[in-house]
């Protein structure tokens, strides 16, 4: 009896997942791809030809494939050292340092890069200082590959500060002590004992660094200059031109397939086994003192230089958010120009877009968290072709730019479809939440899956031997272990969706305008109200404050849940 019941439950869940994949991931994208590649009734691959005849576009594609692997290395190095500074070694002021390093979790994109441009760009603070020291330095020295690499290296360590840190907590301190008693040096311990535990999370995070490099928009646009164009800004523009969506889709497919190949390689590496602590009673990590005084001084200098690099763009953005657009355009900051008017203007606006986006983002971030927990549970418990297929199917959203996914969803679901029970979804809340959820799937899946590696299978087996039902064991044993990561993923998704634009603009309902659209409309150039660059900064600061609050409430405060 219990066996059949279990089978029925499993079959239901499996059918549900397949339905979700077919209806929301495959069908809309087929709509898009057919619409894009079938022109005048026949399949065309003219896109390949048009692209190959465009050397600048090909160069941009190459640039993206250069920056992505280089970034994976630089971000990986910086990211891991950040975590070691704040949580592994005894470094003076680690708590303050951590706050500084975590600022990249709060802001991104154009505004983040603008913060760097205020410092290092034409007439920037650092540039002006450097020009006094080196009079031959060009004002626009901060441009090209190295500038992009610099900005993106420091902009992309946010995930490390959460997920590598979570992984570091699962290091069993006893293993470190044993290694030391056996005569291992600090470096050997780090390399042979600590790093292997971080590896599953590091590979998962590195996939996103690589992807972030491929899909970089803001940094190449703002500091890449004519010498370092990247492909994604081009894809974004092409995807909005009706006749060029085939090239956009093709380029996006190239990026998406490369990312998935990378994941396949990493999955193989993961399968070759990874270190798991044998201890059932883990001991909390004790911070390591750096014994060599020279190294100690060097580490402190490194830590505080990084701190300055991280914190100064934020300071710039906050300061400039209190000025006006003329000051921002001229980059001539002075304290007499500070005003509260921007904040008064922003905060006296209608607040409903904040609420609308908070509700949409909450529903989508929660939905995707629950769904991906289920999927990860299935693919880690039932290894096989079906579960591998499910895993890869959930990476489909990586294959197309958001604009085209949105287009597919609207074009598919604005008429009744039998597989959607004949419910048209145009302009409904449901389609917005679905769209938001879909674009969060790949990140959520990868990071949740990585956190499953920190689960000790024997714990669950023990619970079952003691009579716990599978569901009970899952909720009481598995969930508590991975909860910090799941909550962090939830917070990151929520923050990312709060000001989402590309998806929203296609499907928002006029009765409930989301924040991303509202901000764009309030700040967009092309109106008679003049430039409103300062409002962009103001909204960024407000959203940073909300994001910080969400991270603190969801993740920061209870970050010890998992190890109690």
């Amino acid at each position: 009896m219990s066996l059949t019941k279990k089978n029925i439950t499993q079959a239901t869940i499996f059918t549900g997942l397949v339905w979700f994949i077919v209806v929301f991931l495959i069908a809309p994208n087929i709509t898009t791809v057919t619409d894009v590649f079938w022109q005048d009734g026949e399949f065309t691959m003219r896109a390949i030809e048009r692209m190959r005849n465009a050397p600048r576009a090909m160069q941009a594609l190459r640039n993206s494939f250069i920056i992505a692997p280089v970034l994976s290395v630089t971000v990986g190095f910086v990211g891991v050292t950040l975590v070691l500074i704040t949580d592994y070694f005894k470094v003076f002021g680690a708590k303050i340092l951590r706050l500084g390093y975590m600022t990249t979790l709060l802001y991104s994109g154009i505004v983040l890069v603008s913060g760097y441009v205020f410092l290092y760009g034409n007439n920037g603070f650092v540039t002006n200082i450097l020009v006094q020291i080196f009079p031959n330095l060009e004002q626009d020295w901060f441009s090209g590959f190295w500038a992009v690499l610099f900005v993106m290296t420091f902009a992309a360590t946010g995930n490390h500060m959460i997920f590598i840190r979570n992984a570091l907590r699962s290091v069993d301190y006893q293993t470190i002590e044993v290694a030391r008693n056996l005569g291992a040096s600090s470096f050997t311990i780090l390399w042979r004992v600590v790093l292997p535990v971080l590896l599953p999370s590091l590979t998962a995070v590195t996939v996103f660094t690589f992807l972030g490099g491929l899909s970089a928009i803001a940094a190449p646009l703002l500091v890449g200059g004519p010498d370092f164009r990247a492909i994604t800004p081009l894809i974004l523009q092409l995807s909005r031109l009706q006749g060029s969506r085939d090239i956009a889709a093709l380029l996006a497919l190239i990026l998406g397939v490369s990312s998935i190949l990378l994941i396949a390689v990493f999955s193989l590496l993961e399968k070759r086994g990874h270190y798991l602590s044998v201890s059932k009673v883990k001991t909390d990590l004790v911070k390591q003192k750096i014994r060599n005084p020279v190294v100690n001084v060097f580490v402190h200098i490194y830590a505080y230089v990084l701190f300055l690099i991280y914190i100064s763009p934020v300071v710039m953005i906050v300061l400039f958010s209190f000025t006006d657009s003329r000051t921002i355009a001229r980059r001539e900051f002075n304290f007499s120009a500070l005003t509260l008017d921007n904040y008064i203007a922003a905060l006296t606006q209608n607040f409903s877009p904040f609420m609308t986006s908070a509700i949409y983002s909450f529903l989508a971030a929660t939905g995707v968290a629950v769904l991906m927990l289920l999927v990860c549970r299935i693919i880690t418990k039932h290894k096989g072709k079906a579960s591998t297929a499910i895993e890869y199917a959930f990476m489909i959203p990586w294959l197309l730019p958001t604009v085209l996914i949105a287009w597919g969803l609207v074009a598919t679901f604005n008429r009744p479809q039998w597989f959607m029970f004949n419910q048209p979804l145009a302009n409904t809340t449901t389609i917005m939440v679905l769209g938001y959820l879909i674009i969060c799937i790949p990140f959520t899946l990868r990071m949740t899956r990585a956190s499953f590696f920190s689960i000790d299978d024997t714990l669950e087996d023990a619970a079952k031997n003691l009579g716990a039902k599978p569901m009970y064991a899952f909720l009481r044993i598995i969930i508590p272990v991975i909860l910090p990561s799941v909550l962090a993923i939830f917070a990151l998704n929520f923050n990312r969706l709060l000001a989402e634009f590309d998806m929203s603009v296609f499907m928002y309902n006029p009765l409930s305008v989301p924040l991303g659209v509202e901000i764009e409309n309030l700040t967009m150039a092309g109106d008679s109200g003049g430039d409103s660059a300062e409002l962009v900064f103001v909204y960024t600061v407000i959203i940073m404050a909300i994001s910080a609050l969400v991270l603190y409430l969801v993740y920061g405060r209870n970050s010890k849940i998992g190890i109690d």
Binding site: L241, Q242, D324, N414, P480, V517, G526, S528
Partner: protein
């Protein structure tokens, strides 16, 4: 541990209730909207409702017609894409704004349908010949400069001088995106001079060389053109849409001068049109008939600094509006240009953008 379990359960149940209630509420209101039929509601899709214009229209439409206006304000390119994506089940009743190329796109995809309002024959320029859309606002797309940084004697007399005369290299800004209406209008004005049915994509080699040079010698900018001119990049000239000038002069302490080329200025037509398959066609027609009249257009233009397409609406507006209205319109072959613009933009993106 049990606390987590309880929390999680609570969380999920609150969530599902929330999703259910919120979903019902929203979907319900949309359905109600659909039931309005020919009643008193209009869903207005536009790229021209920012800065309080949408609310102004909504308030006046409610007062004058008793029609409730629901606004969807989206940038022009995204707006046209959204309308095309929704074509099997249109959500919009009326479209307002856009430019000749986007109007062509809507027409080409059967998104808009004929409706000739009573004021149509009073509009001298800009109406669609078959009555698919009608002009309400005129926007001049100008080459402007800051007279504090370059005096009018030094300034160029027409667009091609910017890239053909080396003294102007690095002194004009070009936007780093081709999505805006102004950038496309300015390009139309240039392409129109080099039409050659035998050339690549219908443009002569000389034309493509000029386009390439325009991007090569310009300062690529991701910010407001006025901010770029006021900023440290060295650019002192750029494109601008006519009603964007007065506010920016003040905002950036720019002393504006603008060029009036011999071939004329490319003018965008912001129009108004009825959507094919609109849910509220009767209200939509009443709205269009009301919106384009001289009196409403006069008030609207006075409030927001526009140049109205209706000549009677121009009287009593500030002198700047009359200056813009008095500029020569460049004659542009839209039948040739509009269908090809997408290919040309792609060619520029793939080959010439810095």
């Amino acid at each position: 541990m049990p606390k987590i379990f309880v929390k999680l359960l609570g969380f999920i149940s609150v969530l599902s209730c929330g999703m259910f209630l919120f979903g019902c509420n929203q979907d319900g209101s949309q359905e109600q909207a659909g039931d309005g039929g020919g009643g008193n509601m209009v869903v207005l899709y536009s790229n021209a409702l920012t800065d309080g214009r949408g609310d102004w229209i909504a308030e006046r439409a409610m007062a004058d017609l008793g029609i409730e206006v629901l606004q969807v304000q989206v940038g022009g390119v995204d707006l046209a894409n959204r309308l095309v994506a929704e074509r099997d089940n249109p959500q919009a009743d009326v479209v307002f704004g856009l430019n000749p190329m986007l109007w062509w796109q809507l027409q080409h995809n059967d998104i808009i349908v004929q409706h000739v309002p009573p004021w149509a024959n009073e509009i001298p320029v800009g109406n669609h010949p078959n009555g698919l859309f009608h002009a309400v606002i005129l926007v001049g797309n100008l080459l402007w400069y800051d007279q504090n940084q370059i005096n009018s004697a030094e300034a160029p007399g027409d667009w091609p001088e910017l890239w053909q005369n080396p003294t102007f290299h690095g002194r004009y800004a070009v936007p780093d995106t081709l999505e805006g209406s102004t950038v496309q209008m300015v390009l139309s004005g240039i392409f129109n001079r080099y039409i050659d049915p035998n050339g690549h994509l219908g443009i002569s080699d000389e034309g493509w060389e000029n386009i390439a040079a325009k991007f090569r010698y310009g300062v690529s900018s991701n910010q407001d053109m006025a901010a770029e001119i006021a900023g440290p990049s060295g650019a002192v000239m750029s494109q601008i849409w006519s009603h964007g000038i007065p506010v920016r002069e003040e905002q950036f302490e720019i002393n504006a001068g603008f060029v009036s080329p011999g071939v004329g200025v490319p003018f965008s037509i912001e129009g108004v049109a009825l959507v094919n398959g609109a849910n509220n066609p009767d209200a939509a027609r009443r709205f269009i008939d009301w919106f384009g009249q001289a009196e409403i257009m006069h008030e609207f233009s006075a409030e927001f600094g526009f140049v109205p397409a209706h000549p009677d609406a121009l009287e009593g507006l500030p002198p700047f509006n009359s200056v813009i209205a008095g500029l020569t319109h460049q004659q542009i072959d839209w039948d040739f240009i509009a269908p090809r613009m997408g290919d040309w933009l792609e060619h520029i993106l793939l080959n010439y953008m810095q």
